[in-house]
Structures are given as C-alpha cells and as structure tokens.
Symmetry: C2
Subunit: 342 residues, 2 copies
C-alpha cells in the first residue's frame, strides 16, 4: 500500500478533541503546518468558506463532523437527535456551492442516520452506530481512491511528464505512485494555481514527499511546455462532472485543456462521483469569490489595493476537450458517462 | 495629446545626475516608487538583467545611457572616444538576449556616433551632437507610439473588453486612451503575469491612473472569460516579431492566443520594430530564467524552497494564431509582414 503524503493523512485534514474540531490549514502549508480550531459546526462551515481546506478536504471534514456531532451529543454539549445532524449537514453543504460530492454523500448518510434514531436504541448505541457508518464510508472512499489511482497509472507511459492544475489529491497522487511502483519513470509539471497556490503549496510538496519528480510552473506556462512537446498528458481532479461529460474544475483548467486539444495531448479528469442531477453546464452553480483574493498572494498585497479584480473559482470544460474521465466505474469517455451513471 | 501614466514618463523610467544613473524600479511599483542607483554602465546592464525595468524600459535606458556616457566623457569620468560607446552598448545588448529592438536601435545609433567622432570636432560639440541624436530618436519613437496607439484604437469597438498579458506599454495604453477619446467605452481584463506581476503592478495601476476601467485576473483565467463571450479582442506587446509573423511575448501569451483562436476572438500584437534578421521561430534565442523566481512572489517564498521550478520567460506564438500585427507600417497580417519589412 502506498503511503499518502502529510496533507492527505486523515488526522492532518481534520480531527476533533472534545468540543474542539481542528482543520489542517491548507492556506499556509508547507510554510506552516497549523490547524484552525473550531468550536461549532458553524465555525467549521466558515472555515470551509474561507478555504482552510479545499478540494477533497471538505468530504473528510463532513465525515468527521458527523462523528464530532454524535460524540458531542453523548457529552451533552449538543442537543441529541436527528435535527442536529440535519442542521449541521445543511451548514456544511452551503459552504461549498459548486462541488456537490460532499452534499450528495451527506444526504445519503443523513438518511441512514435518520433510520438509526428511528430504531429507538439508547444514545450510546446510536453514537457507536454513527461512528461505524462514518468508518465504513471512509474505507469505501479509500478503496475508491486506490482503485482510481491504479486506473490513472495505467494511462501513464514510461518517461512521460504529466501536467496538472491545483491539487488533485488522492486519485492523482496515487496514479503517479502506482505508475512509479510499476517501474515507470514519470514526472509532473505543476501549475502554481493562483490565487491560493494549491499547486505550489500542496501538489508540489506532496509529490516531492512521495519521491515523484516535480517542477513548478506559473499558471500561464502550460501551453509553453505543451508547444515544446514536453507534456504526455494533462490530469486534474474535478469539482463536478455533468452527465454530458462537462468537467468543472479550478480556474486555469480550461486554458490548459484547450491548449492540450490544440497540441493533441490527452486530458483526463478524475471524478469520484459524477453528478447524475447535472445534465450539462446549464445545471451548474458556478461560484464567484471575492476579487480581493486576487490582489493578495499569501496575505501580501501585490498591487494598489484599489485595483478591482475578478475571481471566478471554477472553469467549465466542454466534453469535446475531455479525453477521458477516470471514475469508480472505469475510464469513461464523456459520451459513455450517462450510460454508466443514469 | 494623451498624458502617459507615471511608469511611462521618461524621468520615471530612468535619468542621470552626474555619474549616477537612476532606473525606476518596476519590480516594486506601485507599492513603492523607488529608483535603483547605478554608478556605471555595468551596473545598468546588471539592473536590466535583474528586471529592474523591462518591456520597453530598456530602450529608454539605452537612449539615456548614450547621453550619460557622453556627459561623463565631458566630465572626465569616462574615457572619451567611440570605444566607450561600443563597449557600453555591448553590455546593454547582452543583458536582454530575447528582445532585439534595443540591440538594433543601438547598433544603428553607434554607426552615427562613430561618424560624429570621425568628424574630428571638439568633445563638447560631439557630446551636444550625441544629445541631439538621442533626442531625435526619442521623438521618433514617441511619434511611432502615438501613431500605433491610434491604429490600435481603430481596432477597438464601443463597449468592448480587451484581454491583455504583461505590460504592453505605450502602444497599448495609448490605444485604449485614443479609443476613449473617440467616445468609445472600452475596458481591460489584465492578467497578473506571474512571476513578476507586471500585469497586476504596471498595467492595472497605469490604466486606472488614465481613467480606463480595468479588472485584474490571474494568468489561468483568460480562457474562462473568453468562454463566457466577455472578451472582444486580445492585445499584447511583443518582444520579437519574426518575418513569418511569429510573435514572441511574455509566457502566458500563447495560452491566451490558443484560447482566442478556439473562441474566434482576434489576437493583435504591437511591434515597434519587427526583426528582419529573424525568419521564423528557428532563429530565436529564447531566454530561460532562474526557477527561484517562480517560487517567490514579490520577495516572499510561496512554498518549500526545495521545490524545483522552471521559468521560460517567453512564448513563441505561431503566425496562425495571430490576427494582426500593429506596426509603424500599419496593421499587417502575419503573411504581409515580410513584404513590408524585407
């Protein structure tokens, strides 16, 4: 089994101790390995809005929040009952309007938690059952990550350099690790991903920690390396995948996907759960964030603070630019997606 | 006559006082309006290598350096004679290996300075003649800038938003200013242009100073706005233009040019002097800079300092992606360029 890097180890994404919930602060890593301490689900939701953790982090936060609420009920610091879970889930879901995976997983688990309360056992048994439910879901996703990592590895050729944007987490890192385990020499070109620099701060250090060669570039440089024939494929995560194969991912992905099509380089996106409720880009909610984030870099002002800026968080990449979507159900072309998921 | 913004006013690009040569530091503007003080041509060349000024700045530095050398000869702090000019020009030229405009202008002016020394007048008369020569060349370029700005303005439509990368200086800013003077409502989307942030620090504040609406975006966001139909055209400067219409400009330009072609949005590049000695991209010298610049942002480390990074300074944009090149000889298609310049 491949060892995950620091940022993806569960206890570094989030954990709780009594009434305090700790979230690993991805905004400052690797310059600092700090945690944001939350004392309520409301605090946790605010931390998600403030991008303390991002990408796949919120799903792990959601899992741990369910256990956190259950244990606080048993300690008597939260009202016992299903309504508390319902309200908590709603707050977390509202904090991440574009990525729907956490929302759908929480809704499914809420159904199961509702049944547990309906069975009328004592609170301690319900809490134990919720812990077991959370563990079962975590293990299910861990298995999915590794299976998708092996699928991703099968797409990588010996000697190839992979371009990536933002932080594609487990599935991407495991693809590289499994390719390397299979004896392939692979390396990564990571786009820094302004304004939050997830590529510079999360992807590059994580790959380095795993012993996979990586070079950092700025977000405008992808096409430069593609034009020189130095990129074998482009791989990213996805925040949403629609049933027509439209991929939603961090801004900057579209520019590289277009350049890949121009230079005939394949673009693969990982999706742990394509969204059956989204037919196409018309069904998407695309988050706009505060432009103030663009005129800062790691807390430092980069220009006159009066300069207006725009921050569309996500790109919508049309299916015609997507070579394949790596899912728990296999590597699917955009055309094949609805057949597998509807 | 349109008033140029602070960064483009000659005395803010560079000036000299006695033996000290001051270069406006574009690396810290607008957060600080400081000057780097040089005490020799060697210092000036080092400052150019270190990007104290960039884009069109080095051409103005070259003009002023000729006067600086002449006056130092008269003060007796530099050896009088043509050899001093020849050596000084060589140092400046070596500092900017990709952009050939300064090199070609200096070579032409060196021929004229050689003649002045050959005529055998006294040093004072030669120095006066060199000042006149510099002034004549400056005025010639000022006239070119304004004429090209008027040509650029003719391409802009009322209500249009122009995407740009890096700092396209006089010709671009004047295009916007003349369009506005003609009663057109125009606005700009400026890519921040990492790692040096010329877009964030030079373009955006200069446009704001000129009263032209501008919004800052990160380098990965150009395609996002193009995909939404929000960009009327893309305009950049060029560091070199080859005779086949290949445009060399700051990294990040190629990605946007490809996205423009994908969305059928025209791409125009300004060139004050297409280079007749460069047939095509095969004749180019493309500068690679230190990757350390990518892992910093305005002097602050953005990730683990052990992360390797790559910094190709310039993109080469193939003629098929270029709609038109705005030159002193008119707005030319890539095909028409060699007919006008060879």
């Amino acid at each position: 089994m491949v060892k995950l890097p620091y940022v993806l180890q569960k206890e570094n994404i989030c954990r709780f101790d009594g009434d305090t919930f700790f979230i690993g602060d991805r905004r400052t890593f690797p310059l600092a390995k700090t945690f944001v301490a939350c004392s309520s689900v409301r605090d946790i939701a605010i931390a998600l809005t403030q991008m303390v953790t991002q990408g796949g982090g919120p799903l792990q936060v959601a899992f741990t929040t369910l256990s956190y609420c259950a244990h606080r009920m048993e300690r008597g610091t939260l009202p016992a009952g299903f309504e508390t879970f319902k309200g908590s889930a709603a707050q977390l879901i509202a904090a991440r309007p574009t990525n729907t995976t956490m929302a759908r997983v929480l809704e499914k688990m809420l159904g199961e938690i509702s049944l547990l309360f309906g069975q009328g056992g004592d609170l301690h048994s319900v809490v134990q059952a919720i812990d077991a439910l959370v563990l079962e879901n975590e293990q299910q996703y861990d298995a999915i990550y590794h299976a998708m990592g092996k699928k991703g590895a099968s797409l990588l050729k010996d000697g190839e350099t992979v371009l990536t944007t933002c932080f594609a987490e487990h599935t991407f890192l495991l693809s590289l690790a499994y390719a390397q385990q299979e004896g392939k020499t692979v390396s990564v070109l990571a786009s820094e991903t302004r304004p939050y620099l997830q590529g510079a701060r999360l992807t590059a250090p994580s790959l380095r920690e795993m012993g996979i060669p990586v070079s950092l570039i700025t977000d405008g440089m992808g096409a430069n390396f593609l034009s020189k024939g130095k990129v074998g494929c482009y791989m990213t995560a996805s925040d949403v995948v629609c049933m027509d194969g439209t991929v939603v991912n961090k801004t900057g992905t579209l520019a590289n996907a277009i350049a890949c099509a121009y230079y005939n380089v394949p673009y693969y996106s990982f999706s742990i759960s394509p969204d059956p409720s989204k037919r196409n880009s018309g069904d998407l909610h695309m988050e706009m964030r505060d432009g103030k984030e663009v005129i800062h870099c790691m807390g430092h002002l980069i220009t006159d603070e009066a300069i207006p800026a725009l921050y569309p968080s996500f790109d919508s990449i049309p299916p015609s630019l997507v070579t394949g979507i790596i899912t728990p159900k296999g590597i699917l072309t955009p055309d094949a997606l609805s057949g597998a998921y509807l």
